[in-house]
């Protein structure tokens, strides 16, 4: 049991469970099933971008992808515009979204590698570029997703939304990559000491390229699913995922300093991030107070998490 408690991801799940119980306390146990279902649905979005962000942050200090919101918006916008509610174009539309992610990732890494801009600046600058393209192509129109796609993204098995299924599969793939894959080892090695990794034959640039492209593709997929889920793309649909993607990585037990990743924690933290908002909602707090409390809770958890890793 002590070994179980020492897992860094356990705290994210405990916190999520506490928020769930606190919410249920107010409602007197009403709607537990629907709250869980909603939590799984919304946590799925945070979990997918969180996995991408986790690999980026694992690359070491200074590595963070701030272009996730803009990539989501651009991919969602372009894909929905291309499909134009035509059901037969769903798969090509998905291809468009993933292609947008690929290009965004390449742009990000090109800025980092060729112009030697620090990643945090490069991805922020690139995000203005992506956002501008999205604004230019969208022109204020809100195009609905094709009906089957909307049905898929809002539907699911009993107790398990389709989106959560997708996000769980992605998390499992990420876990396998990290624990069993060559690439995962290389990412962790670079995050601890990039020079030592390179001197041990790790293809440092190829790995970093893959990680930034992977993060952008996952962001694009999230944008596609989110736009389909919410009945159309809009220009600020990615905004909250800037902080969200970083918060779920840190709360999930990955090291901010790089070199250590934690996939199960991403899911726990994503559930927590949704449940904390619904808990504050159920206590009837206004939007302002809710944001303040969310911020305070994140800071507390991060401070706690980093202290824990220091003592370890």
């Amino acid at each position: 049991m002590t070994g179980f408690l020492q897992r860094p991801w356990i705290w994210a799940y405990l916190a999520a469970a506490a928020a769930f119980i606190a919410t249920m306390y107010v409602s007197g146990g009403q709607g537990a099933g629907s709250l869980a279902y909603a939590a799984l649905t919304f946590a799925a979005f945070a979990a997918i971008v969180g996995v991408g962000q986790m690999f980026v942050i694992t690359l070491g200090p200074g590595n963070v992808d701030l272009s996730i919101p803009a990539t989501m918006t651009l991919a969602g916008t372009l894909a929905l515009k291309f499909m134009a509610t035509d059901s037969s174009l769903i798969l090509p539309g998905l291809g468009i979204a993933l292609g947008v992610g690929l290009i965004c990732g390449i742009v990000n890494f090109a800025l980092i590698l060729l112009l030697r801009i620090p990643p945090i600046i490069a991805t922020l600058a690139a995000s203005f570029l992506f956002q501008s393209v999205a604004i230019w192509s969208n022109r204020g129109l809100r195009i609905k997703p094709p009906a089957p796609l909307a049905d898929f993204s809002t539907g699911g098995l009993p107790g398990l939304p389709n989106l959560a299924l997708v996000a769980i599969l992605i998390a499992i793939a990420a876990w396998v990559l990290l624990e069993r894959g060559l690439a995962g080892r290389w990412i962790l090695a670079i995050g601890q000491n990039a020079r030592a990794a390179q001197l041990s034959g790790v293809p440092v640039n190829a790995v970093r390229f893959g990680v930034y492209v992977g993060s952008a593709v996952l962001a694009a997929l999230t944008g596609f699913l989110l736009a389909s889920f919410s009945g159309g793309a809009n220009l600020n649909m990615g905004t909250e995922y800037m902080l969200m993607s970083i918060a779920v990585v840190v709360i999930g037990g990955s090291s901010i300093g790089g070199g250590s990743s934690n996939v199960p924690g991403i899911w726990g933290a994503s559930l927590f991030m949704f449940l904390i908002v619904s808990m504050l909602n159920s206590y009837g707090l206004g939007a302002g107070v809710r944001l303040i409390l969310t911020g305070c809770i994140i800071v507390t958890v991060v401070a706690f998490a980093s202290k824990r890793s220091h003592s370890a």
Binding site: L182, A196, V202
Partner: protein, 488 residues
């Protein structure tokens, strides 16, 4: 300046006297029983190999280090409670110029003078500082062309060094009685160096004392009135310059080379590498990179490694493996276990379809724990739980476990105990006989004597290539020092 009357005899009054000074850092005796008196009017040339204790000796004199035992006395000190350390040395008129420059790059030339010159007037010190530093520069380096208002960071390296030297000689509240110059000419060209040597002679003639550390023997002979040779933390020779010739000085610096058990010359395979700077190696050869520390050997090795490996593609069979000497910078991945650290280089070789072969990784780990005797009962323990020497063994194993035909070693024996060293030498020999090529940079002579061919480096270039019986400590020292005399 000290009074010229004291210069009437052949020797002036003592400026500083050390009596049986010891300095140890834990178990390491950096200085054992140094006895030295520096008189006014003397210029002492201090020479010795890397790690002979020169820096420790001058740092004891200038107060940076507190001696573990022994007496240290400065001229003109009143008995009682003298101030300690650097302040005491500064009050006695000891000034130092270090090899690693110690000016503040964000301040101007004049402002840098203000730092050691504590008693400047509160108002109008800038004008005084400019005047003082200008006078000092004019005196040491006529026609220097440096303005006092320039930021030190904007000056080229040579001019920074000139400023630092001038500040050390400058006139201020307390005059310089003893100036310690540690490799002062390393970044100066010949003409400027000559100006400095001329000034040192002038300074000594007027009663000042200088301790001059240089690996340029020509300069030492040109300026020193007495030469002190250090070896293994001891002063082994202390005689007037006239008593030395270049040959006897080089002999005095090197310890008598332990008769190396040189294996009979083997037949090597084809040449596997040749670099533009002349460094070359054949299959199965152990090639040593010698010379004084910091003369470009490590850079050559790192550049070679990067030129034979890609940051975009990992070869299944790597061409080169690297053994780091600077463990924390170049080798150890601190969050990982011993096993993962050891297996990093061979991951690609034993992977299939992008997946790590865990069984193979464990097998390699167990093999090398036995072979190189890593002291742990569990290879999944964190790497940082090991001592430095054992961490180094892991880094050796990481490189040797790979199939790379060339192994590059960047002074890899730091912190390794003698027993392990012998074991690793034997292992390197065995691997070389199997056809592996080693490039081995070492600051320790015993290790270089293990090599089949040696390239001696000086200022980033190969200054000599030694083979067979020519690989001796004397020849290496000669090659590390001699070319500079020709350049002078």
């Amino acid at each position: 300046m000290p009074n010229n009357d004291t210069m009437s005899g052949t020797l002036g009054v003592p400026v500083v006297a050390l009596g049986d000074v010891h300095k140890s850092f834990g178990p390491v005796h950096a200085l054992s029983g140094a006895t030295l008196t520096v008189h006014a009017g003397e210029c002492i040339g201090l020479v010795g190999h890397n790690g002979a204790g020169k820096s420790t000796l001058v740092n004891v004199i200038n107060g940076r280090l507190e001696p573990t035992s022994g007496d240290l006395a400065f001229a003109g000190e009143t008995p009682g409670q003298p101030p300690k350390g650097a302040q005491r040395a500064a009050r006695a008129g000891v000034r130092s110029v270090f090899q690693e420059l110690s000016l503040c790059p964000n301040l101007t030339v004049a402002e840098n003078l203000r730092i050691p010159y504590r008693t400047m007037p509160r108002w109008g010190w800038r004008a005084l500082a400019r005047k003082t530093v200008r006078a000092a520069l004019d005196e040491v380096f006529p026609d220097h062309g440096i303005t006092a208002r320039t930021l030190v960071g904007d000056l080229p390296l040579a001019e920074r060094q000139m400023v630092e030297i001038a500040i050390a000689f400058s006139r201020r509240d307390s005059d310089a009685r003893l100036v310690i110059l540690d490799e002062p000419t390393s970044s100066l060209d010949a003409a400027i160096a000559l100006q400095l040597l001329t000034h040192i002679r002038r300074f000594c003639d007027s009663g000042g004392a200088v301790i001059f550390i240089s690996h340029m023997l020509g300069e030492v002979f040109g300026v020193a009135s007495r030469i002190v040779v250090m070896k293994d933390g001891r002063i082994t020779e202390d005689r007037p310059t006239k008593g030395f010739t270049r040959a006897t000085l080089v002999d005095a610096m090197g310890h008598v080379a332990s008769a190396a058990t040189r294996t009979t010359s083997r037949d090597f395979g084809a040449e596997v590498l040749r670099l533009p700077n002349g460094l070359a190696a054949r299959r199965g050869e152990v090639v040593g990179l010698a010379g004084l520390a910091g003369h470009g050997q490590a850079e050559v090795l790192a550049d070679f490694f990067f030129s034979r490996s890609s940051t975009w593609h990992a070869r299944r069979k790597p061409h080169v493996a690297f053994v780091a000497g600077d463990r924390s910078r170049d080798g150890v991945l601190p969050l990982w276990s011993i096993l993962r650290n050891l297996g990093l280089m061979t991951l690609r070789e034993h992977s299939s379809r992008g997946m790590v072969d865990h069984a193979q990784e464990r097998a390699i780990g167990d093999t090398w724990r036995e072979r190189i005797k890593i002291r742990t009962d569990d290879m999944t323990n964190p790497i940082l739980s090991l001592s430095g020497g054992n961490q180094q063994k892991v880094l050796f194993a990481r490189a040797l476990a790979s199939s790379a035909p060339i192994v590059v070693m960047d002074d890899p024996m730091r912190g390794v105990d003698v027993g392990t060293k012998k074991e690793v030498y034997r292992m390197i020999r065995a691997e070389a006989e199997q056809g592996r090529t080693f490039l081995w940079y070492s600051t320790e002579t015993d290790e270089i004597l293990e090599c089949d061919r040696v390239f001696v480096f000086r200022n980033g270039a190969v200054s000599a290539e030694l083979t067979g019986d020519a690989i001796t400590e004397e020849n290496m020292l000669r090659a590390s020092f001699e070319m500079q005399e020709a350049a002078e």
